[in-house]
């Protein structure tokens, strides 16, 4: 079956396909399949509910703006509104399917093994991802420090980004030094703890799914 790299390729192919086509039928089919897969793979209902909650506003927003303010006839506007609304739904649920049970580590390790991404990039990015929670802290302390001097830092001001980048530069130096001191060598050959091969059956599945999409598209009338 598909590994992380293949899943990403398939997800990108599907999103490219639905970005360039206008079939409500195809979108609804894709959404239903992705939704069912989430249920079959026993994703927590709370998580699925969260995706639905994320989807509501952008789906309705896309639908309304094209339905109410489109340039065509009422029927055309309704169709295009439904296309744009259902497209957002597919994006979110294919995204959910893609990230389901896949950690950034697995994706990066697969990309390294399958697409020959360099170890420096794989482990550099992986190390950097661990700083995600610390940026949240950093942002609030930057704003607090500003408030102490009576400055309110807003998101369109360069100072806020500058201060976040100062942290980033400092952390990147420290982390690079820490990784080097723990034996990480740029360009050195390394063995893998786990293999993430791209199986032939995965490619067959991808081709079958892509063919199925074209068939649905060919027969879909709306």
């Amino acid at each position: 079956m598909m590994n992380a790299t293949q899943r990403m390729i398939l997800a990108l192919a599907i999103s490219l396909e639905i970005s360039l086509t206008k079939s409500v039928t195809l979108n609804v089919v894709l959404f239903s399949v992705a939704f069912l897969l989430l249920l079959i793979r026993r994703q927590p209902l709370k998580k699925i509910g969260l995706y639905v909650a994320i989807a509501i506003i952008p789906v309705l927003g896309s639908f309304w703006s094209f339905y109410l303010y489109g340039q065509g006839t009422a029927a055309e506007n309704l169709h295009f509104g439904l296309v744009m609304g259902s497209r957002v739904l597919v994006f979110i649920f294919i995204g959910a399917w893609l990230t389901m049970g896949m950690t950034p580590y697995v994706l990066l390790a697969s990309l390294r093994q399958n697409l020959k991404m360099s170890a420096t990039f794989t482990y550099g990015i992986l190390g950097a991802l661990n700083f995600m929670p610390r940026f949240k802290q950093a942002f609030s302390s930057i704003q607090a420090a500003g408030m102490m001097r009576g400055e309110v830092l807003r998101w369109w001001q360069p100072t806020l980004y500058f201060k976040a980048l100062v942290h980033a530069i400092k952390w990147s130096k420290n982390l690079a030094m820490a990784m080097t001191s723990h034996g990480f060598q740029e360009g050195a050959s390394r063995s893998a703890y786990r293999d993430y091969p791209m199986a032939k059956s995965g490619w067959v599945l991808i081709v079958l799914i892509l063919i199925a999409l074209q068939v649905i598209l060919f027969f879909s009338r709306y």
Partner: protein
């Protein structure tokens, strides 16, 4: 200027991606609010154009600070991938947008042969606008709009990208230069 990516360069690039993935993710609801506000006066077609500059900041900023081939493209992709993992409102669609926007921004720096980064930054605001607009002609159905509206949309998009991914990026980089934290030996 050395073209080799050191570990520290990669980590800094990834951290820029992380910072912007959070900003992009925060911007998703902002987009919806702006959109409903503009829809009241019938100008919701402009929401995307007004806000797009913010979503394109990671690429030019990464290129302009790191001064490396590919930094813009990878930076934008990382920002987009992070937004998806955080659970952004456009799911896997953001990866595709990040891909297109990354190519658009990178093109500007490429056109200068990666020699003049200042000119590259301004060129990248233009190429970013052209490439992302070309994509939206097909993807978002802009091709159905009348010519007058298209021209207006293009100008507004250019101004947004020019401000956020040009002026703001330049100001951020200037502050960094003055701080002497980044030494390009």
């Amino acid at each position: 200027m050395k073209q080799k990516w050191t570990l520290q360069n990669v980590i800094l690039l990834a951290l820029i991606g992380v910072i912007f993935s959070v900003i992009y993710w925060i911007m998703d609801p902002v987009y919806q609010i702006v959109n409903s506000g503009l829809a009241v006066i019938g100008l919701q077609a402009f929401t995307n154009e007004i806000t797009l500059g913010v979503w394109m900041m990671a690429g030019p900023l990464a290129s302009y600070i790191l001064k490396k081939i590919g930094a813009g493209f990878i930076g934008e992709m990382l920002g987009a991938a992070g937004e998806m993992f955080l659970g952004g409102s456009y799911g896997v669609g953001t990866l595709l947008s990040g891909f297109i926007q990354g190519i658009g921004s990178e093109l500007g720096f490429a056109l200068t042969g990666y020699k003049n980064w200042f000119a590259g930054l301004w060129l990248s605001t233009l190429t970013g606008t052209v490439v992302s607009f070309g994509w939206d002609l097909f993807k978002s159905g802009y091709i159905h709009y009348k010519l007058g509206l298209l021209v207006a949309l293009f100008i507004v998009r250019y101004l947004s990208i020019f401000f956020f991914s040009g002026v703001l990026v330049h100001l951020i980089a200037k502050l960094l230069d003055r701080s002497k934290l980044l030494s390009h030996e």
